[in-house]
Amino acid sequence: MPIVKVEHLTKIFGKRVKPALEMIQDRQSKTEILKKTGATVGVYDANFEVNKGEIFVVMGLSGSGKSTMIRLINRLINPTTGSVYIDGADIAKMDKNALIQARRKKMSMVFQNFALFPNRTILENTAYGLEIKGVAKTERLKKAQATLKDMGLSAFADQYPDQLSGGMQQRVGLARALTNDPEVLLMDEAFSALDPLIRREMQDELLDLQQKMQKTIIFITHDLNEALRIGDRILIMKDGQVMQTGTGEEILTHPANDYVRTFTRDVDYAKVLTAQNIMIPALTLNLDKEGPNIALRRMRHEEVSMLVAVDSQRQLKGVISAENAVAARQKQAPLTDYLDTAVTTITKETIVNDIFKVINNSPTPVVVTEQNRVLGVVIRGSVIDALTDDAAVTESKTKGGDSNE
């Protein structure tokens, strides 16, 4: 039973909407339409369904129309044509009052930049949705308190948003949406503004919450990993058009077209993937000023057993292992005596397939250098990753369209 159903949904920005609409019926491309009419197509004849209780991820690069899509679902942007059925009622055809009622009862939204009201306390922010509905003050504050308590934010109830960290603020944003008890939760790149560690934490938290709440969540992201981690089903967009809808596994195994294939970085793509796409920042030790004690401390802190030794100009000097650092400390000798200088180096243009050949014979990490200057290191995991499928590498920037998000 689909709770959200989108049919022939189209949004055209600009002045000459009518001719653009006719061109869409002729299935002409977005660039053609822009050239002929000057109108930008935000969403191009989209059709999909979202089932009750699933996390449905809409993903695509900047400018693919995913943000427009989510705003069409709660009609923050008015659609040009098409229908959005929520519980069988068409949002696109509603009058103002019905729309307000639908927004109050059916759906809530979480924003990329949190969009908390800076003039209200956390508690007042959380209770906003209920306040709008006209719920009595004591009751709405009680409900808001309960949500905050569930999310471990009770201690901050009387503080203001700018006194909280980004992660906290986004939790408040989520709490605000949940307090409203909506049927559908719309999340617009909710974790994109957070740093990777917190982001992962929030993803886990969302999954835990979903176990408890069984809400329908429409989640927007530009990050394939995020989509794969949390999405029950994924919709991939490009230039306003829906490319493919399916589970993560389906999309990786049977990409519908070349775009999805390159987007999900198939095996064939490894031929053109180079070292700079898969290298990670090197953990370095500056021999000019750092000694064995610092080396050991850093290894312990970073949870590794080797460091790349460099000088102040980041010139590669060798590799230092934990055993050698301990030996140097006992002998009170400088680290330079204990360096392993036989390091495999590659340039940043080296292709993944070639790295694969050298990395198997190298006990130490393979260092990516440019004129002997350390840029990063390549580890086995990422190479194997790149050669198989579900790529955990930085996106190659194949930016499409203008970023109007």
Binding site: N74, R103, N113
Partner: protein, 581 residues
């Protein structure tokens, strides 16, 4: 310059006149209601403010300054000393009048401006229409608003209010619009996504977040309203502006500075108060309970302030109800002759038990105010020549009570050491070919311009206008330097007893022959105030009498004092006026 554009001049002035005429005739009732309501309201507030003992008022404001500025001593001390200075200089009543005008015009500007700003922010079409109007309002010189203001509301405090509002409104509208448009897009989206109605979005999100910007606009509005106070005093708005204007017209540096400084003090106090109130709350960690308490205190403070003003208004009305023979409004122009005569007759009427208000105005506006019945009388109508234009325009609407002084004269005047000129026809290249005049609206100036057209040798001359005070200063300076100067002079005037001057002969009679000063009263005064009418009708004195008073005033005596002294010295003459059969 004889191109196609110059063949037919567009009658823009005519159109504007016709439009204002149409407005004043068709909307007269509406304007009258507004005027009467505004007048009684503002007089009530002013009376209320004046009824509060000045020292109490100063104390309250000082304490307020202390708390508003978060316990900083600078503003507190400044408020105390500044207000004490104003009180000490005897400008308290003027200050209260000014405060009333500024408060009301700011308040009305906010009441009109904030909704307009909201409308502008919500609708692009409204913005496109309103923006050029605001530009027009802000760049048009403030003086221009005075003209229709008088046409609509006559003289006094209400037209001043009207002009102030028009002049001061734009910043509030602009900043409200800016503030609301400046609310981050995602916050607006968030408010929408939770199903806020337009009103909820406005009150819960947009206005609270735009508050600081709006307050900055309001601050500018109060400052502009204050600057308009000086200009509005030309059409009879009472207050500190009047003192500045008088000082300008009589060229009294000292008194101008004293009044100006009072305005500066007021401006700084208002500015700092509004700025401090606008500062973002530093104590962010206020609990709801603290907020609640703060709200109660604010409300209590407001109630107390309203009670204070309200009670004093009531008290005042009781005071004024036990009244005398009634109120008389005399209007005059700030010329030394009229200052003398108006003060004398006003003092006489006061001693007869009338409550007399004197309002200094521009010449043309003085005539208009009597013609419209806003002033009861004036004793400064120079005829048949000097004010011929005004008389022609308004003679149907005023009652001419005849001469109160004869032997007055106007003409072009030069120092005696200019031996080469004895007649206007002798003028050729002296004094930079400039006739130093007085206020642009004055009859003498019109006469001088007429002379300029009559005498061919004055073809390349120009009449430069300023004010009567500035003219006498220029004259004194020229005499000190033994430089040639030609002025528009009139007698009676103290300058003839101070310097050696001579009138230039006027063979063509362009400047008029000997003049008389006449008394004009409004229609219906005879029925309403027969006794006062009679006294005004009897009022009559000589050039010498007037010059005595004028000299005293010129030498630094306050006009009221000089008038009282003269009345004391001439009991018989005064009795002849006040004997009403």
């Amino acid at each position: 310059m004889n191109n196609g554009l110059m063949i037919a001049q567009l009658p823009v002035a005519d159109w504007v006149e016709k439009f204002t005429d149409w407005l004043t005739t068709n909307w007269a009732g509406f304007f009258d209601v507004l005027q009467n309501f505004g007048k009684s309201l503002m007089n009530g507030i002013t009376a209320g403010l004046i009824a509060i003992p000045p020292l109490v008022f100063i104390l309250v404001l000082t304490v307020a300054a202390f708390f508003v500025s978060k316990k900083r001593w600078g503003l507190t001390a400044f408020t105390l000393l500044g207000l004490l200075y104003i009180y000490n200089q005897g400008l308290w009543a003027d200050l209260m009048n000014t405060i009333t005008l500024v408060l009301l015009s700011s308040l009305l500007s906010i009441i009109i401006g904030v909704p307009l700003g909201i409308w502008m922010a919500k609708s692009n079409r409204a913005r496109i229409v309103i923006t050029p109007i605001l530009d027009f309002m802000q760049t048009m010189p403030g003086f221009v608003y005075l003209i229709p203001a008088v046409a609509f509301f006559g003289i006094g405090i209400v037209p001043g209010l009207f002009a102030s509002i028009i002049f001061a409104l734009p910043p509030t509208v602009r900043m409200t619009n800016l503030g609301i448009r400046g609310v981050p897009q995602d916050l607006v989206e968030a408010a929408d996504s939770f199903g806020s109605t337009g009103w909820q979005k406005l009150t819960k999100v947009e206005l609270p977040l735009a508050k600081n910007t709006i307050m900055a606009g309001i601050n500018q509005t109060t400052m502009l309203a204050l600057s308009m106070v000086v200009i509005a005093s030309m059409i009879g708005a009472p207050g500190l502006g009047r003192g500045v204007l008088q000082a300008l017209q009589r060229a009294q540096v000292g008194s101008g500075f004293v009044n100006g400084l009072a305005l500066v003090v007021l401006a700084i106090i208002i500015d700092r108060f509004t700025q401090y109130l606008n500062q973002p709350k530093a104590n962010k960690t206020k609990t709801p309970a603290q907020k609640k308490r703060q709200r109660y205190w604010t409300i209590a403070g407001l109630v107390a302030a309203l009670g204070l003003v309200g009670s004093s208004v009531v008290y005042n009305q009781q005071q004024t109800q036990s009244q005398n023979k009634g109120t008389l409004n005399l209007s005059y122009v700030e010329w030394d002759t009229e200052v003398a005569s108006t003060n004398v007759i006003a003092e006489v009427l006061r001693q007869e038990g009338y409550d007399v208000k004197t309002t200094p105005l521009d010449n043309a506006i003085m005539w208009e105010s009597v013609a419209k019945g806003e002033s009861d009388a004036m004793v400064g109508a120079w005829l048949p020549n000097t004010q011929a234009a005004q008389y022609k325009k308004y003679k149907k609407d005023v009652v001419n009570l005849g001469t109160n002084l004869s032997g007055a004269k106007v003409g072009l005047v030069v120092p005696k050491y200019m031996t080469d000129v004895n007649s206007i026809a002798d003028l050729n290249g002296q004094a930079n070919q400039t006739i130093t005049g007085i206020e642009p609206g004055a009859g003498v100036v019109a006469a001088a311009e007429k002379a300029q057209q009559t005498y061919p040798n004055l073809k390349d001359w120009q009449v430069s206008t300023s004010s009567s005070g500035a003219m006498t200063v220029a004259l004194g300076k020229a005499i000190k330097q033994k430089e040639p100067i030609v002025i528009t002079g009139w007698s009676p005037h103290w300058m003839f007893s101070k310097y050696d001057l001579k009138y230039l002969k006027d063979p063509a009679g362009a400047m008029g022959q000997a003049e008389t000063i006449k008394t004009m009263v409004r229609k219906g005064l005879k029925q309403d105030q027969p006794e006062a009418y009679q006294i005004l009708d009897n009022f009559h004195w000589s050039v010498k009498d007037m010059e005595t008073v004028m000299l005293q005033i010129h030498n630094g005596t306050a006009p009221e004092k000089a008038a009282k002294a003269w009345i004391k010295a001439h009991p018989k003459q005064v009795k002849a006026w006040t004997d009403v059969k």
